[in-house]
Amino acid sequence: MTEQHPIIEAQSVYIDYRLKKEWLNVIHDVSLSINPLEIHGLVGESGSGKSTLALALMNYLAANARVREGSITFAGENLLAKSTQQMRGIWGSRINLVPQDPLASLNPSYTIGDQIGEITRRHKNLSRQASQERALEMLKKVKIADPDDVLNRYPHQLSGGMLQRVTIAMALSTQPQLLILDEPTTALDVTTQAVILDLFRELIQDNNAAALYVSHDLGTVAQLCDRVTVLYGGEVMESAPVHDLYANPINPYTIGLLASLPQHASETRETRLNTIAGVQPSLAERPTGCVFADRCPVVIDQCREHKPPLETMPDGRLMRCWRWPELERNELGLDRTPIALDTSQEMQDKPVIMQADQVTKTFGEQTLFDRLTGKAFNPVRAVDDVSIQVRAQSTVGLVGESGSGKTTLARCLVALYTADEGNIELCGMDISRELSNRTTDALRNLRMVFQNPNDALNPYHSVGDALGRTLHVLSNGTISRQDKRKRIVELLEAVRLTPEYAKRYPAELSGGEKQRVAIARAFAADPALVVADEPTSSLDVSVQAVILNLLKDLRAQQGAAYLLISHDLDVVAYLSDQIAVMYLGEIVEFGDTEDVYNTPSHPYTEALISAIPSPDPTQKGSEIRLEGDVPSARDIPSGCRFHTRCPRKIGAVCEQQEPPWVNAGDGHFIRCHIPIDELREMQANKTNPLTTEEQA
C-alpha cells in the first residue's frame, strides 16, 4: 500500500464554548485523521462532544464556540484560517453533511427536487432544468422508490427512510471528498437502518469519498467503519482499526462500553449487563487527571493526578491510558463479558396477570364536510383485533417498526387511549376501557413508563413531590405523611438514587436519573404490571445498561410483570421471557423469546432479527433486507398484511387470504401461510430469499 495523505487531519484540537461568561472546554486535545476511501467511526455518549467535533471538522461552530488551539487541515489547506465566505465555497461542494434528523433538516416549504437541485445550481452552475435532472439521477442512485414522483414531493409526505435517502442524495450530488454523517440512522427503524447502511458503503466507495460516521450505536459502527475513534468527555480514549477495537479493546472505557451492550438472546438472556458506574464528569470542572478516572475500574493514583498523554501504540492504535501496557497484556483481568445470573422459574407455572382480548383502536373521524361531499370514510386501523396476555412476574416484549401499532396498543391497555372494542382483564377482574371508569385499584396495578423521561416529569415538581403525589392519589389519600416520606426514600433507593434526590427538580437530573425517577413512580404502589414504552431509547448505551439492569432487579424484588415495548430487539431479548411481534396493527408472531429467535419464525421477525447490526465487525451483515416502508394503516394490504414486503411470499394465496394463526409448538404461534415445517427448513438452510422489489 502506498503512503496515503489523509483527506482531513485534526491535530491537538481544543474547542471551548462560552456559557455564562466563562469558557468551557468541550473538546480537549483531539487528533484524528481520515484517509481517502476510509469510513471513520466516531463513537461516544451524548455530551462526549462528538457532534461538536464533527461540525468543527467542517469549520462550522456555534456562535459561542471557538477552536482555541490546534489545526484542521483539509486536502492540504488550513481550514481554520478560512472565512465563512470562503467556507461557503467548500461546504456543499467538497465537504458535505448528512444530518441526523432528516425531517427537521429539510425545509418543509420546498420540494425535494428544489432542495437537492439547489446544491448543484450553487456549486456546479447548473440550470434549474439540469439541476432537476441531476437530482433525479441522484435519487435513482440512492434507490428510492418512484424517484420522479419524489422530486415533486414535500418532506412531510415522505417517510423517515425515504427522507434519509434524500439527504444522502443531496450530500453526494456534488461528489464531495469528505462526508460527515452525523448519526444518520438514529431516527430510523432497524430494518430501514440496515438498508441505509448498505447504501452508505456502496455509495462512499463509488464516489471515492471519505467519511466520518458519528454514532452512539456500536453495532452500526462495527458494520460500517474501517477505523473507530472513541471519544469520552471530549477526549480521544482509543482509536484503532475496527477489527482490533472490537476484538481486543484495550482502553477501560472501550471495554466497559462494549460489555454494556445487550447482545443476542441466547448468550445473555439470564445475565446482568456490565455497566460503567457513575456519570460523565461535568465539563465545567475538567479533571486534572484522566477524564475517565472516576468511573474506571482499574484506576490508580497516577490517573487522578496526571492526565495520560495520547500515545501511539506499536500497532498504530491511539491510546489515552496510563495502564495500556498492562491492559494490552491482559494482566488486569478486566471483565469483558456480561455476568451470569440465576435462571427464572418455568413460564407456564405463572398465572396470567393481564389478558387483553380483541382490542381494536382506530383513529380519524369523518368530518361533516366529508359526509356532505360523500367521501368514503377511511380510518387508520392502528390496532386491529389484537389479543395478548402477560403472566405474573414475567416480561412480554412487544416489537415492531414504527407504525406497527405497538405504542397504540400499550396506550389502550393503560387507557390513555380508549380502545374502540375489546376486553381487558387485570388480575382476574375486567377493567374498563375508559380511564375515567377505572378503579383506583386498577390504576395502581397497571402503571406506565414513558419513552422520553424529559416530558414525563413535571419540571415544577420536585422528585419527592412527584412520587408523593402518586402515592397520595393511588392510596385514595389515606397515606400518612410519615409513611409517604418513608416510602419515597424506599423507592429512590430501589432505583439506586440517594434520598437527597427527593428535593431535586427534573432540570437538575440527567436523562438516566429522570428515567429512574419515572420508574420509581411507576413502582410507587406495588403494581402488578408495568407497561414500559421504549424506556431506554432516548438514553446512552451505558445508561441504557443501568436502566435495563434496574428493570430486571425490580422485577425480581417487587414481583411485577412488564410489557416492554421497543424497536430494539436486543433490548427486548435481554429482558423478555416472551415476545410478541407486531406488524400493521396485528400480532404476527408470539412465543417464548428463544423460540422467536430460533427457527421457524415469521418472515417479518426473521427480517427484523437479521437487520440488527452486530457489534462484531467480523459478522458482516445479513442477507435479508426489507425494502420500502410499512404501508399506511389507512390502507391495509389484503390477505397477509406483510405480503407487499415479504421476502418469502409464496404466491397469490398471500395476497388473497388472511394467513392462519399456526401453532408451532409450546405456545409459539406464527401467522403465515407457509407450513411450519417448510418455514423451518427454509430458515435452517439459510435459503436466501430474493430481496423484494422496491415498493411504490
Binding site: M58, Y60, M87, R88, G89, I90, W91, G92, S93, N96, L97, P99, Q100, D101, A104, S105, L106, N107, P108, S109, Y110, E118, I119, R122, H123, Y154, H156, Q157, T167, M170, F369
Partner: protein, 316 residues
C-alpha cells in the same frame, strides 16, 4: 387546495350569516324609540305610527330580519335617517373606498418596514441593534394615535410642509400625488401602531426558524446568507405574521376613528361613530356589515396565502 379554499369560503358564509344576526339584534336592543328619534319633535303620534308602518317596524322581529337581510344582499341598503333621507349605499361605499385606500397605503408602508426591522432584529438577537428596534417599536405603540398623529403633523406638515395636515380636500377622481399627499400622514400614524406587532412577530418567527436544523443544512450546502434568509427562513418565519396582518386589516378598515378624526379623514370608522351617536340604524347596519365582510375576506385571503406558502396545509 381547491377543497381547502371551498371549505374556507363556506365557513366564511356561515360566519357572515351569524354576524348579520348579531348586527341586526344589536340595533334592536339600542335604547330609544326609532320613530321618535327620526321624526320631528313635534310629530304627532299618527305620524310616528305611519313612519313605523312605512319602515316595517311593526312587523315581528324575525320578519324584519329576513326583510332586512334580503334587501341588503340584493343591494338595497335602505335610506339614512338623516335629513333628506339620502340612500345609504353610495355614501357608505364612498367611505369604504376611502378607508380601503388608507388601509392599503398603511400596509404598503408597514409590511416591508416592519418585516425588515424584524429580520434585522432577529439576525442581531440581543445586540444593541435589536434593543434599539425593540425599544423604538414598543415605545411608539404605547403612544396614543392622537399624540403620534399631531407630532407627525407638526413635523411634516407644519415645519417641513411636505404633506397636507388635513384631508378635507379629497381629490375628485384622484390624481396619484393628490392621494399620496392626503394619505401619507394618517398612514404613517397607523403604521406606527402596527409596527411593533408585526416587527415582534417577524423577529420571533425568524429567531425560531434560525434555530431549526434546515437552516444549518442550507448553510452547509454553501448557500449565500442572503439566500438562506430570504428563501429558506422568511418563507417559514412569516407564516404567523400573515395572520397578524390579516387581523389588523379589520382594525384598519373600521377602527381608525381617532386617526380619521385627527386628520379629518372621511373614513368608515368616523362615519360609524356618527351613525351610532344619532342611532342611524341603516347606516350602522351597512357599515358594520362591510367592516365584517372586509375582515372576513382579509382572513380568507390570509388563509389561502398561508396554504400557498405552507405545503403541509395545502396538501392535506
Amino acid at each position: 387546495m381547491g377543497r381547502y379554499v371551498l371549505r374556507r369560503t363556506l365557513l366564511l358564509g356561515v360566519t357572515l350569516l351569524i354576524t348579520s344576526v348579531v348586527v341586526f339584534a344589536l340595533t334592536q336592543v339600542l335604547p330609544g324609540d326609532i320613530a321618535t328619534l327620526n321624526t320631528s319633535q313635534f310629530a304627532s303620534e299618527e305620524f310616528k305610527e305611519a313612519f313605523r308602518e312605512e319602515r316595517g317596524l311593526n312587523e315581528p322581529v324575525p320578519v324584519q330580519y329576513v326583510t332586512w337581510l334580503t334587501s341588503f344582499v340584493t343591494g338595497d341598503w335602505g335610506n339614512s335617517f338623516n335629513r333628506g333621507n339620502p340612500e345609504v349605499r353610495p355614501l357608505v361605499l364612498d367611505r369604504l373606498s376611502n378607508s380601503l385606500r388608507l388601509a392599503g397605503m398603511t400596509l404598503l408602508i408597514a409590511i416591508p418596514v416592519s418585516i425588515l426591522l424584524g429580520v434585522v432584529a432577529a439576525l442581531n438577537e440581543d445586540s444593541w441593534l435589536d434593543s434599539i428596534i425593540s425599544i423604538f417599536s414598543l415605545s411608539v405603540v404605547g403612544l396614543p394615535e392622537f399624540v403620534t398623529g399631531f407630532v407627525l403633523i407638526e413635523i411634516f406638515a407644519n415645519n417641513l410642509g411636505w404633506f397636507s395636515s388635513t384631508s378635507t380636500s379629497i381629490p375628485d377622481g384622484g390624481s396619484l400625488t393628490g392621494w399620496l399627499d392626503v394619505l401619507i400622514l394618517p398612514a404613517l400614524t397607523a403604521t406606527l401602531v402596527l409596527l411593533a406587532y408585526i416587527t415582534r412577530m417577524t423577529r420571533a418567527g425568524v429567531i425560531d426558524e434560525l434555530k431549526k436544523s434546515y437552516v444549518r443544512t442550507a448553510t452547509l450546502k454553501g448557500l449565500p446568507q442572503r439566500k438562506i434568509i430570504f428563501k429558506h427562513v422568511l418563507r417559514n418565519a412569516l407564516l404567523p405574521t400573515i395572520t397578524v396582518i390579516a387581523i389588523s386589516i379589520g382594525w384598519l378598515i373600521g377602527g381608525l376613528v381617532v386617526i380619521e378624526r385627527v386628520f379629518n379623514y372621511p373614513g368608515l370608522g368616523r362615519e360609524l361613530v356618527t351613525a351610532v351617536q344619532s342611532q342611524n340604524i341603516p347606516m350602522i347596519q351597512a357599515i358594520v356589515m362591510l367592516i365584517i365582510l372586509t375582515f372576513a375576506l382579509a382572513n380568507l385571503a390570509a388563509d389561502v396565502l398561508y396554504a400557498v406558502l405552507n405545503p403541509r396545509i395545502r396538501l392535506e
